[in-house]
C-alpha cells in the first residue's frame, strides 16, 4: 500500500539509471544512514560500538571486496585473510615511515598496495579455474601470513611480533586509531568510509567493467567471444577486490583490535568472509552487508543465549556447542535459501508491493 512506485515516472536517463529507482527506497536508505550517523553515537554503549558495530562495518568492506571477486566475477578465492593481513601490515609500515601523512591517505595507499599483491596472486586464474583456483588462492593465504610472521622487518623489529596501532588523527583532535580514539570516533569514521566505499562498489559493478566481470562469471569463453578480454577483466576484479579487502584488513587491525598481528588473519578469517557473501547473497552489495551482520551477530547471540535462559554450562562445552550450532545453521540457511539473505529481501519487497492485497 505504501511501498509502490505507481506515479513515479522516469522522464530522463539520469532517473532511469538511479541506484534506487523507487522513492521509498531512497528515503529509507537516507533515513537509515542518518539514524546511524546522528542517533546511534548518542544512544549506543561502548560495548555495542566496539564489539558489534565496528566489526560489522569492517567485515562489510571485506565482504564487498570478496563479493566483487567471487559474486560478480565468479573467481572463488580463499586468500582473503592473507590480503587483509597485507592491508594491515602495509598501513603499519607506511604510517610509521611517514607519520605526518593523513591516515585516510595511508589507508588508501595500503589498499592500492594490496591491489598489486592481488594482481600477482590473480595471475594463475588465467589458467586455473573452479576448485583448482580456490585451492591455489590458499597459496596466497599461507605464503603472505608466513612472510609477515617470519620477517621482523614488517613489525619494525618488535620482539613480541604483536604491535599496537599508533595514534593517528583524521583531522585536529579527531583521533581514529590508538588509545586516544574513542569508540564513537572510530564508528563515525568507519560508517562514512564504508558508505563511500559501498557507493564506489555499487557504481563499479553497474559500469562497463562490472558488466565485463559478470560476463566472465556467467561463461568465460562466451565472454571472450563477444570481445571481453578475460585477462583484463579477471585481473581488474582481483585488483579491486584486494583493494577493498586490504582496506578492511587495515581497519580491522587499527580500529577493531588496535593491534597488528598476522595471527588474526588465519585461514578461518577467509572462510568467515566467504560465509558472509554466501549467506548474504552472491553478487549483491546489500547482501554483503546482510551477511556481515549475520556472521558478526550469530556467535555473540550463541554465546549469550545459555546465560539468558538461565543455563549454566562449562565454558568449553559452550564453545563446542557454538561450533555445532553455527555449522548446523549454515547448512540450514543454505537449504532454505541458497541465494542468500539478499534474495529474501527481494521476495519481501515483492510481497510488500502488493500488500495488503493477495495479488
Amino acid at each position: 500500500m505504501f511501498y509502490r512506485e505507481a506515479g513515479q515516472y522516469k522522464s530522463d536517463y539520469a532517473s532511469d539509471q538511479a541506484i534506487f529507482p523507487i522513492r521509498q527506497d531512497r528515503i529509507g536508505v537516507l533515513l537509515i544512514f542518518l539514524f546511524a550517523l546522528l542517533v546511534i553515537p548518542f544512544i549506543a554503549t561502548n560495548y555495542l560500538l566496539n564489539s558489534i558495530l565496528v566489526p560489522f562495518l569492517v567485515f562489510s568492506i571485506a565482504a564487498i571486496g570478496l563479493n566483487i571477486l567471487t559474486g560478480y566475477c565468479g573467481q572463488v578465492s580463499l586468500g582473503t585473510g592473507g590480503f587483509m593481513a597485507c592491508g594491515a601490515f602495509f598501513t603499519f609500515k607506511l604510517t610509521t615511515w611517514m607519520p605526518e601523512v593523513n591516515i585516510l591517505l595511508i589507508f588508501l595507499m595500503a589498499g592500492f598496495g594490496t591491489a598489486l599483491v592481488g594482481i600477482a596472486f590473480g595471475i594463475p586464474s588465467l589458467r586455473i579455474k573452479g576448485f583448482y583456483l580456490a585451492i591455489a588462492t590458499l597459496a596466497a593465504q599461507f605464503f603472505l601470513i608466513w612472510m609477515f610472521t617470519q620477517n621482523p622487518w614488517w613489525t619494525n623489529y618488535n620482539p613480541a611480533g604483536v604491535i599496537t596501532a599508533p595514534p593517528r588523527a583524521l583531522f585536529g583532535n579527531f583521533y581514529i586509531t590508538g588509545i586516544e580514539a574513542t569508540p564513537v570516533n572510530k564508528y563515525l569514521f568507519l560508517l562514512c568510509f564504508t558508505a563511500a566505499l559501498a557507493l564506489v562498489a555499487k557504481n563499479l559493478v553497474r559500469s562497463a567493467l562490472g558488466r565485463a566481470w559478470m560476463a566472465i562469471r556467467d561463461m568465460d569463453i562466451a565472454a571472450e567471444i563477444i570481445g571481453i578480454r578475460p585477462m583484463a577483466a579477471k585481473l581488474s576484479a582481483f585488483a579491486v577486490s584486494s583493494f577493498f579487502i586490504g582496506i578492511s584488513g587495515a581497519a580491522w587491525a587499527f580500529m577493531y583490535t588496535a593491534s597488528v598481528e598476522a595471527l588474526a588473519f588465519e585461514v578461518t578469517r577467509s572462510f568467515q568472509v566467504l560465509f558472509m557473501i554466501i549467506i548474504g547473497g552472491l553478487g549483491s552489495i546489500l547482501g554483503s552487508f546482510l551477511g556481515a551482520a549475520f556472521i558478526v551477530l550469530l556467535p555473540i547471540a550463541l554465546s549469550n543465549l545459555p546465560a539468558m535462559v538461565g543455563l549454566r554450562l562449562p565454558v568449553d562445552l559452550i564453545a563446542h556447542l557454538e561450533f555445532m550450532i553455527f555449522g548446523a545453521l549454515i547448512v540450514f540457511f543454505l537449504i532454505v535459501e541458497p541465494n542468500g539473505l539478499a534474495r529474501l529481501w527481494q521476495i519481501g519487497k515483492e510481497k510488500l508491493r502488493r500488500w495488503p492485497f493477495p495479488y
Binding site: 567471487t70 572463488v76 594463475p124 589458467r127 586455473i128 579455474k129 573452479g130 576448485f131 583448482y132 580456490a134 585451492i135 591455489a136 590458499l138 597459496a139 599461507f142 605464503f143 601470513i145 608466513w146 617470519q150 620477517n151 561463461m219 569463453i221 562466451a222 567471444i225 585461514v267 572462510f271 566467504l274 560465509f275 554466501i278 552472491l282 568449553d316 562445552l317 563446542h320 556447542l321 557454538e322 561450533f323 555445532m324 550450532i325 553455527f326 555449522g327 548446523a328 545453521l329 549454515i330 547448512v331 543454505l334 537449504i335 541458497p338
Partner: protein, 335 residues
Amino acid sequence: MPMRILPWLIIPPAAIIGLGLLLQGISAIDSQLYFTWGYFLEVLIAGTLQGVMYSLVALGFVLIFKASSIFNFAQGSMVLFAALTMVGLMGWGLHWTLAFLATAGVMVLLAMAIERAVLRPLVNQPHIILFMATIGIFYFLDGFGQTLWGSDVKQLDIGIPRTPIFIFEETFEGGILVNQFDVIAALVGGALVAILAIFFQKTRIGRALRAVADDHQAALSVGIPLKTIWAIVWSVAGIVALVTGVMWGSKMGVQFTLALIALKALPVLILGGLTSIPGAIVGGLIIGAGEQIAEVFLSTYIGSAIQDWFAYVLAMLFLLIRPQGLFGEKIIERV
C-alpha cells in the same frame, strides 16, 4: 586409460638424481649446506613416507569428488570425529579391532545422515553452495565430536612399533634412518588403495559408482539409484577417514589439529588432479618428498617453517603448466 609405464620408470629416478646433483652442486659452492647422498636419501624417504599420510587424507576427498562433484571440506573433521570415536570406544575397554569395527559402523550412519539431511535437499545447487555446506558440516562435526568426547589430547595406541631402524648400512656411511611407524603406515595406505581399486573395478557397486562418476544423468537413466550410491560413497570416504584418523592419531595424538590436516591434503589434491585416485597417491608422494627436502635443504636460504606454504606454491606452479593436475581429466570447454 592406458598407462604408459616407461615414463614412470624414467622420470622419478631422473628427477631424484637431478635434484640430488643440484643440491650437491650448491653444497660444493656454499659450505653452509650439508649434503651427503645418504642424508639426502634419508630425507627423501622420510618425506615420501610422510607423503603417504597426506595421500590417505586426499583419497577421501577424491572418492567423494569423483562420485558427486562435491568438494568435501569436512573430510578433515570426519578424520577427527572417527579418531575421537575410536579412542572413546577403546576407553570403554573394547579391543581396538572391535572399536575399529564399531567406529566404521558409526561412520556409515554418519554418511547416511549427511546424505539425508544435507545432500538430498541441496541437490542441483551450484557447486559452491555444496562446498559451503560441507564447511558447515566441518564446523558441526568438530563441535559434535568434542562435545561428545571432550577436547583434551588423547593417546591412540594400537601397538604399532615406533623404533627407528637403519637400512643400507653397508652402502652409505652410518646407514639410512627410517621410522618403522612410517613404513607400516605406508603399507596400510597401500593396502587401502588396493582394496579400493578392487572394490571399484570388480564389484557391482563399484561399477555403479564409476558410472555415477562419469555422468549422473546417464547413470540415473539406466536405473542406478543415485541417493544410495551417494550414501555408499560417503560411507567409504568415512571409513577411509577412519583409517586416516587411526594412522595420524597414533602418530601425533588425537586432538583438534587433526581436523586441520585437510589443509595439508588440498595441494596434494590439485597436484594429482581432483578426480584421480592414482593422482592422490602420486601427488602425496611428490608433495611429501618435496616439502621435506625444501624444509631441510632450503630453509637456510629462505627462512624456516616453509612447510606451511611450500606445498601450495609447488602445486600452483605445477597447475600453471597443467591446469587439470597430473592425472585429472582434461578440461574441455564448450560454449
